[in-house]
Symmetry: C2
């Protein structure tokens, strides 16, 4: 099934709705759980009723269904108690580290890179990306993210994978101009990773069919920048599976239900597949020509991130954002 | 006033109670806001009623008040949408970096160090600290922490300071055996900073009287390790004020109401004041004798962290934890 969080004034977590597979219809589900985070926290009690409602919606039997509008929803979890972002596509790590003249981590292929990001103020799927200062170097990062049930401390990758309840897409907004100095301080990202946005809907694993296997989503991530093709890398090329990433995160503590865990920027070695962020393209330009050519995002620049199934149907709806200058 | 979160089975955020100034009595406040996080989110609507209830409790007029038991409460915010921890005591930064042979950050005195920590599974104030593996090197870190109202993006230190609603103490548990390798990867802390614990009660700024000034708490942090004096450093020696730390955190995004922000390990240059973590003491031993003498925490080791006012009365109650070996 597909779940989303309708925008409601004064409700920072929105209101739970079930969305049809083709993303055209939706129905209120707040009588089952008022918000998506609570549905995840009480999954065994809520999933059955949500599935019944989803089947009714597909069959045209749901009363008071309405047209689904991606601009009328917040990110599926507008706030979460945890947002952990891995970096499971090795090609991305290689290119981005090269771009900032940073060495590759020693355990690149055995010890996942992961950071804890801000989870208190996510952007909506169609919300403007604020640009405070051109020197910040705004970039997008197209990712796959999963929403977890409770994960016990020390969970194996197999146990960890069984905690995955939902899958979404993410735009992990990055401020490339701030990151090198910030990482040099040694405490990870803070100012360099402002609020991320997620796809209009989150889906259960069964919606992905055979494309969900080996703890990975085997579909392309379609990235459109300023209306033109920018990337369609295969998201299945994760070096670490989601189970392995979650297990890493839970090594020394339990993870609460509702935790969001990201794949890191989707990236393939085949450069004809384009990129899912500007930093990679810039690094490839530098390698080829000696110069960075593509600038970071300017006010008015648009980014669209989506994923289609084998029939060309959008699975998660589209992250569709524009950069907007803000004056503080 | 003093607020706490009573342990209730099946309620991960506990239930809001008001606690008397002398920490002996408490009264249910869940009719005003069911949980503390909601009281912070709706502060202007809730604060007045909570203050009235607190006055009634002090005057012996509160109906159904009961004896306050620090073992019956969770951390004031058992879960939060954000836990940001600064490192505002320069002496701590100097000693800990020396301990792991890491260089001092360039902007040590101008650009606050801060990391985003796990906020989904805090420990209770009297909950055991789990030890999975002796090589992890369990350490405590005594800190002061503030709970914030909404902070707009780009808030100045002055605006930021006005968003402080509550103050608490924190034990920011650290796994010294894991941190050097983790920080070397460049993405900050994850496994090396497991779940933190907070003091039994959170207090409003007026409870601190004149000890709250310049955006700092001017009282000693009393740290007792295995029943013996370990430290009583003056928490007022923060190089950066809380306003400056919050402003730094909000440089590129808003912070949601309910965000917790920590001071970093309380530390004074005067070594007769002891320490608020084992890493500092070990480094001082190394400098003096060439050897680390004090080991990290073993199963059964106990740590107590509290703060007393000018009359010797405990302000926040005591973080009182024991290390316990867990088998995964």
């Amino acid at each position: 099934m597909k779940l989303a969080s309708a925008k409601i004034d004064g409700k920072p977590d929105g209101s739970l709705i079930v969305v049809s597979r083709d993303l055209t219809r939706a129905v209120d589900a707040s009588h089952i759980a008022p918000i998506l985070r609570e549905a995840v926290e009480r999954w065994s009690a809520c999933a059955g009723a949500l599935e019944t409602l989803a089947r009714d919606l597909e069959a045209g039997r749901a009363t008071a269904s309405f047209a689904f509008d991606p601009a009328a929803v917040r990110s599926p979890l507008p706030r979460a108690f945890a947002w952990l972002d891995g970096s499971a596509y090795i090609q991305h790590v290689k290119l981005v580290r090269k771009a900032r003249n940073a060495p590759l981590p020693e355990g690149l292929l055995t010890d996942p890179l992961m950071y804890q990001g801000g989870s208190d103020t996510f952007l909506d799927p169609t919300e403007d990306i604020p640009l405070i200062d051109a020197s910040h170097g705004v970039d997008f990062e197209g990712e796959v993210a999963v929403v977890l049930d409770h994960v016990p401390m020390g969970a194996s990758p197999e146990v960890a994978e069984r905690a995955i309840r939902l899958v979404m897409l993410c735009n992990d907004v990055s401020l490339r101009g701030l990151i090198p100095a910030e990482l040099k301080k040694g405490f990870g990202f803070l100012n360099g990773k402002p609020s991320s946005a997620f796809s209009p809907v989150a889906v259960t694993l069964d919606e992905l069919g055979n494309a969900w296997r080996d703890g990975r989503v085997h579909h392309n991530l379609d990235v459109t920048y300023n209306g033109a093709f920018y990337g369609n890398a295969d998201a299945g090329h994760m070096h670490f599976s989601f189970g392995e990433l979650i297990s890493h995160a839970a090594k020394t503590r339990a993870l609460a239900a509702g935790t969001i865990l990201g794949s890191g920027t989707v990236s393939n070695e085949d450069t004809s597949r384009g990129s899912s962020c500007l930093a990679e393209k810039r690094m490839l330009e530098k390698i080829e020509t000696g110069e960075f050519i593509t600038p970071f995002m300017k006010p008015g620049d648009t980014i669209r991130i989506e994923m289609k199934d084998e029939n060309g149907a959008s699975i998660f709806g589209t992250i569709d954002q524009k950069v907007k200058k803000v004056d503080l």
